[in-house]
């Protein structure tokens, strides 16, 4: 039986069947894989938080190695001693605060609603780390990361990631040569929390100057770099009330 594929009724029926079939396949796939994907995302968050406080498996220069997924849960509960949420400047303990979707909380904050801002306290070699999550905009899409600092407001480590920055340029914010520059950099300018600027041509490519609030930018990635600067500034602004309470200098 030859079908007349040119008839309008056929076209409509074909379109309906196609949409239903494709929709069903994708819906089953998405819901079937969801638990697995959620678990992967959870592990990745733990890995990133630990990375920022220096708990990682980096070996060679330029290597970014996380704690393997099968160990990360144990390591996370070992190193992260407290998980807090800050609501209106009040810090309260909350289990699994790391699962909070920061983007949603920042949106709530912008609208003037109540927001739960997560913060993690880690301890390694009897040194305390305060790890704040960050979320901002790059050139093409979202960028995010974690910033770990001590009571002196000196950066102990960072982790950056991005959704769709340009490969070879903005995407390099997650490379060691960029992230490592932040370690040891002071967030204070004078006596106030200022942040760290990603700048072009600061005359300090080896980043020996740790109190200039500057790190060297990536060539060809100006807007992503500015995004990182803005993200750090914004994060410090919203966490300032809490950070002022732990500050010792």
């Amino acid at each position: 039986m030859a079908i007349n594929t040119e008839k309008n009724s056929y076209t409509v029926i074909f379109a309906i069947i196609m949409v239903v079939v494709v929709g069903t396949i994708l819906a089953f796939l998405a819901s079937g894989l969801r638990p697995q994907i959620d678990e992967n995302e959870r592990f990745a968050k733990q890995q990133n938080i630990l990375y920022a406080m220096g708990v990682n498996r980096n070996e060679g220069e330029g290597d970014v190695s996380f704690i393997p997924t099968n160990e990360v849960e144990n390591e996370f509960s070992k190193y992260i001693t407290e998980q807090l949420v800050i609501v209106d400047g009040d810090a309260q303990a909350q289990e699994e605060a790391y699962l909070i979707d920061l983007k949603r909380q920042l949106n709530a904050l912008k609208k003037g609603e109540e927001a739960k801002l997560p913060l993690f306290i880690g301890e390694k070699d009897s040194k305390k780390f305060y790890i704040v999550p960050m979320y901002g905009k790059g050139l093409w899409d979202a960028i995010w990361g974690y910033l770990s600092l001590d009571e002196n407001m000196v950066v102990q480590g960072v982790y950056f990631d991005h959704k769709g920055e340009t490969a070879g340029l903005g995407a390099n914010i997650k490379m060691r040569f960029f992230m490592d520059d932040f370690s040891g950099e002071s967030l204070l300018k004078g006596n106030s929390l200022s942040g760290i600027n990603v700048v072009k041509g600061n005359g300090d490519p080896l980043n020996n100057d740790k109190i200039d609030n500057e790190v060297d930018a990536i060539a060809g990635a100006t807007i992503t770099g500015n995004g990182v600067t803005a993200m750090i500034k914004e994060t410090l602004k919203i966490y300032k009330p809490y950070l002022e309470t732990i500050r010792t200098n």
Binding site: I3, T5, I25, L33, A167, G168, L169, L206
Partner: protein, 215 residues
Amino acid sequence: MALLSKKDANLILDPLADNNPITIQVLGICSALAITAELEASLVMAISVIFVLGVGNVVISLMRNIIPSKVRIIVQLIVVATLVIIVDQVLKAFAYELSKTLGAFIGLIITNCIIMGRFEAFALGNGPWKSFLDGIGNALGYGVILVIVGFFRELLGSGTLFGIPVLGDPITKTGLYSIGYENNGFMIIPPAALIVVGIIIWIQRSRNKALIEEA
């Protein structure tokens, strides 16, 4: 090539050289510019396109007699988009690290004109096996150029290959850098890809005069 008849083998081999989608048909230029700053990204994109185009061509070919011609472009688009989402979800579930590296490219595959071009020009008029070979061949032809461009851009632009420094350290001035060599920052921005592709086209046409179009 005992496995394939000569005609079938040509379906794979032609797009690698004399009918290359990038250098001859000038398709897929957009992604060739966007993602070739690094060799690894080029390779990953090439593999993803091989998968999507191979499978997509077969799917379209199987459906070729029942697709109403009025809506065939939309149907093609749905097939590509579905395949891309499947790849994305499966990678997220079973190869999370890889899916993060791929993140930006997965979406770009949908917009790759080679894919729609092959669906339209080949899969709609040929059987599944031939379409499969055609898909693989064209994706390989695309991939080869991507990898060549990625190789030169990463080597000359960053002095690395697959992220590993091969020319020494530009900051502490070791290796080639100790004698005054500098990375060419121009190579890491997209226009450089156009120049590299242009040079490839030039070399290819000067070796095979039959490819030169009448002016």
